[in-house]
């Protein structure tokens, strides 16, 4: 490039054009994340498309799709792509290599080397990039049923389990990470686990369809000096598309055992376990770590790395940090490692001089130079051992689908249409049909039991307990099982297929207007199913500010437990437009969430959302087993709730509303419940909800939202009696109150765990006040137009 020529930025590249990265600007975690994802000088990128609202952009780099915002793209200098030299057929210079046999019986053990004692627990860390199949492999290894999704960052915390048939071995599934930089919580959790808990081995799972970027983490894991086995996942996809990997060659070059597997099909997993057990029990550490070549760009990085390694050797040993890892992190400017090493000022100065000299010689800043050295080594490995597959059919399919689902004019209509279809099918067709069927079954069973109790002449109290209490309360809730399961079915389809990631890409620009990033949409969509996993899913957000805001907004996305309330009240009071009322509730919740976001953006959460750097996975057909397992879990979960918390609540409420304080069976208006709830009822009188039965139902809803309906049915006796007791306007105010008031106790516990007690109390009190105001507004409007 001519020195006087104005250098282009990535932002100026046109859709469909390719360019070569020349410089990566910016600072902090965003920049480091870009470097870790392979956005380094010398790499070719292609601009695939811009999001429908013009921002962010989708890039193709190293055989995968990456999204970044235009503001970040502006910091990346690019030049025209090189004219490619004719690439050699990599298979031409691949000599047939003998299998090095790393991780196999006895080859590398000197006589007398003993394995770890048989009774010693072999602990493994399962590490890999996001969305490379870790949890699928974890499930295969342990026989567990952890949820698997097709969205980067489904695993938000680590979990452990024993390897099947090997009780002496335990594997811990770590969150998906791209590097061991200390910039995100996931990376810190993973790195701390390996450094502090010292697992006996690491199983590093790598997506073989995107091998370059995945090996970047492998090189860092190798620096930790822990025995490691590389699992090349999705090899079936690579082979199916004409690619292959010279496993022997890769094993030879990396110095660690390499095992091709397909976690989804359970192929090669047995061999992987054998190798892992072997390297762990013999403590076979990686045979090589020196990826910084002497001849790579004059060897500047090599000399810098080794110079610092010699300098800090004693400090690293004292701190218990592998010296090469410590040196590379020092060069990258890792403050945590610097602190742990306790270097003297003189040593710090020497380290800085060495790094500055390297920067001058290499012509790149420290972080970029290290990333470039790693990627150079990876390119070398791939050139010698990987035959690239032609474009996979999964990728071709994804491109075709994305033409519509992320197309400029079709993305948002598609999103609205998909969500409308999901809700229509859930409430209108499948769910409602199944619900009616189940309701008929429950009614039939109730009348059989009622007949039996009468024929046995059981006492009036016991009859009332069984029929008016248990059957009415629990039966009403059970009839909603189909609707809730169908809603979860569609939400899991959206997540497993890979569509959620696209929604994040499409909605980023819109969400940024309310101070959030596109990634926040995913926890919120999950919140439509249940607030608890929605709140937990916010852990994938790297910024504390975004996370707090998203946690606070998630309860406004009406969860499936509130469905019975809408279903019951909407059908009872607004039979002709019940579906409209139900969908309206969802929109009111979302509108309220947006309003709160706007207010908090201007007050509590000032500032901008973090960079939106995310991988777009290929669309995949969700596995029937995975979906079936999820549905069964949700059904089981719901049944468990119905027969535990709701049953207990129903019986307690039946008891309180059947007896007075002298334990005499009385009319419900003179019962204990009427007396207790009557104390709080005046607070709700301005909303037209001053009836003690409604107040009781709302209190029971704190335990589980479904309880609101069972309590109302038990207290009023039937929907007809309830419609006679309160006006439609008051019923609508009740619906709004139920939508907005405090989340249930499980969600409150999740919020407390994520944000602490202060934010939890703020959510509980704040949402109650907001619900009261909104319901008051409904009552006021109703009063003004004469409905009350």
């Amino acid at each position: 490039m001519n020195a006087n020529e104005k250098r282009k930025t990535l932002k100026e590249v046109k859709v469909g054009e390719s360019a070569v990265i020349q410089s990566v600007g910016g600072s902090g975690s965003g920049r480091q994340h870009l470097l870790d994802m392979g956005v380094i000088p010398g790499t070719e990128v292609t601009l695939v498309k811009l999001a429908p609202m013009g921002d962010p952009m989708e890039l193709r780099i190293y055989d995968y799709e990456l999204t970044i915002r235009l503001a970040d793209a502006e910091n990346i200098g690019v030049s025209e792509p090189y004219i490619k030299k004719e690439e050699k057929d990599s298979s031409a210079f691949r000599a047939v290599r003998a299998h090095p046999g790393l991780g196999e019986g006895g080859k590398y053990h000197e006589k007398g080397t003993e394995p770890l004692p048989k009774d010693e627990l072999l602990t493994f860390a399962l590490a890999g990039n996001q969305n490379c199949g870790k949890t699928t492999l974890f499930n295969q290894l342990t026989g567990a049923n952890c949820h698997v999704g097709n969205f980067p960052g489904v695993t938000v915390d680590r979990k452990s389990g024993s390897i099947k048939d090997h009780p002496e071995a335990e594997v811990t599934d770590l969150p998906g990470i791209y590097s061991l930089s200390p910039y995100s919580d996931e990376e810190l959790v993973s790195r701390r686990f390996i450094l502090e808990e010292k697992p006996k081995g690491i199983i590093n799972i790598v997506d073989a369809t995107n091998i370059e970027r995945n090996l970047y983490l492998t090189l860092q894991l190798m620096e930790l000096e822990v025995p490691i086995v590389l699992a090349l996942n999705m090899m079936d996809e690579v082979k199916g598309n004409g690619g292959s990997v010279d496993v022997n060659g890769m094993e030879d070059m990396l110095g660690i055992p390499v095992v091709p597997i397909s976690a989804a099909k359970n192929e090669g997993v047995g061999e992987l376990v054998n190798h892992a057990l072997h390297v762990a029990s013999y403590q076979e550490k990686p045979a090589m770590q020196d990826f910084c070549g002497k001849d790579d760009h004059g060897g500047a990085v090599h000399r810098c790395m080794h110079g610092i390694m010699h300098l800090i050797e004693d400090h690293a040993a004292a701190a218990g940090i592998p010296v090469r890892f410590a040196a590379s992190k020092l060069i990258e400017g890792d403050a945590l490692v610097l602190k742990a090493l306790c270097l003297s000022d003189n040593e710090k100065e020497m380290v800085e001089h060495i790094i500055v000299q390297m920067e001058a010689e290499r012509g790149l800043d420290r972080s970029a130079a290290i990333a470039d050295a790693r990627f150079s080594f990876i390119r070398e490995i791939c050139a010698q051992t990987v035959v690239r597959p032609k474009e996979s059919k999964e990728h071709v399919r994804s491109r075709k689908i994305d033409r519509v689902l992320t197309g400029k004019y079709t993305a948002i209509p598609s999103f609205i249409a998909i969500m409308a279809l999901v809700f229509y099918l859930t409430f209108g067709v499948i769910g409602e049909g199944l619900k009616t069927l189940l309701q008929m079954g429950i009614d039939a069973l109730t009348s059989v039991v009622d007949g039996a109790l009468r024929s046995w002449q059981v006492s009036e109290v016991v009859h009332s307990l069984v029929i008016d209490g248990i059957f009415t309360g629990v039966g009403t809730i059970l009839s909603f099982v189909p609707i809730i399961v169908v809603l979860f079915f569609f939400l899991s389809l959206l997540e497993d297929s890979g569509y959620m990631a696209r929604v994040a890409f499409v909605m980023d620009q819109l969400l940024r207007k309310i101070g959030l990033s596109g990634k926040s949409i995913v926890p919120m969509l999950i919140g439509f199913g249940c607030t608890v996993p929605g709140v937990m899913a916010t852990r994938t957000l790297s910024s504390e500010r975004d996370r707090k805001m998203t946690v606070l907004l998630t309860p406004f996305m009406s969860c499936s437990a509130k469905l019975p309330i809408y279903g019951f009240l909407a059908v009872a009071f607004f039979p002709k437009v019940s579906w409209l009322v139900m969908i309206g509730m969802y929109f009111i919740g979302m509108a309220m969430g947006i309003l709160i976001a706007f207010v908090s953006k201007k007050t509590v959460f000032k500032g901008e959302a973090v960079p939106f750097i995310m991988e777009l996975p290929n669309y995949r057909l969700p596995g029937a087993k995975n979906v079936a397992r999820l549905l069964w879990e949700k059904t089981k979960d719901f049944l468990k709730r119905a027969f535990t918390v709701i049953l207990v609540a129903t019986i307690v409420i039946w008891f309180l509303q059947t007896f007075d304080f002298r334990m005499q069976m009385v009319d419900s208006s003179k019962s204990m419940l009427a007396t207790i709830a009557g104390l709080i009822a005046p607070l709700f009188a301005p909303l037209g909800l001053g009836d003690y039965r409604i107040v009781t139902a709302l209190i029971s809803g704190f335990m589980a939202k479904e309880s609101v309906v069972s309590t109302l049915v038990v207290l009023y006796g039937s929907a007809e009696l309830m419609t006679a007791a309160i006006t439609p306007c008051a019923a609508f105010a009740l619906l709004v109150f139920c939508l907005l008031y405090t989340p249930c106790v499980a969600a409150v516990a999740a919020i407390r765990k994520e944000l602490g007690t202060r934010w939890m109390l703020l959510t509980v009190v704040g949402q109650c006040v907001l619900a009261w105001l909104a319901a008051g507004l409904v009552s006021l409007v109703g009063f003004l137009i004469g409905l009350l």
């Binding site: 979990k159 808990e197 979960d637 049953l647």
Partner: protein, 55 residues
């Protein structure tokens, strides 16, 4: 109160006690680090998680 009434009361009583015991146990697990997702998928988070990881 006749025999069927007493038998039904005993059954309901036993279920109630079992439910309350389960709910108490779950509450204790939540205190110990369980996510309280109420849909135990065998992740054993409540038993395995190192508290230092928690935010």
């Amino acid at each position: 109160m006749n025999l069927p009434s007493i038998l039904i009361l005993i059954v309901v009583g036993v279920i109630l006690i079992a439910d309350v015991a389960y709910l108490c146990l779950r509450a204790r697990n939540q205190k110990g680090g369980c996510d309280g997702c109420d849909g135990c998928n065998g992740c054993n988070l409540c038993k395995k998680r190192d508290k230092s990881d928690r935010r």
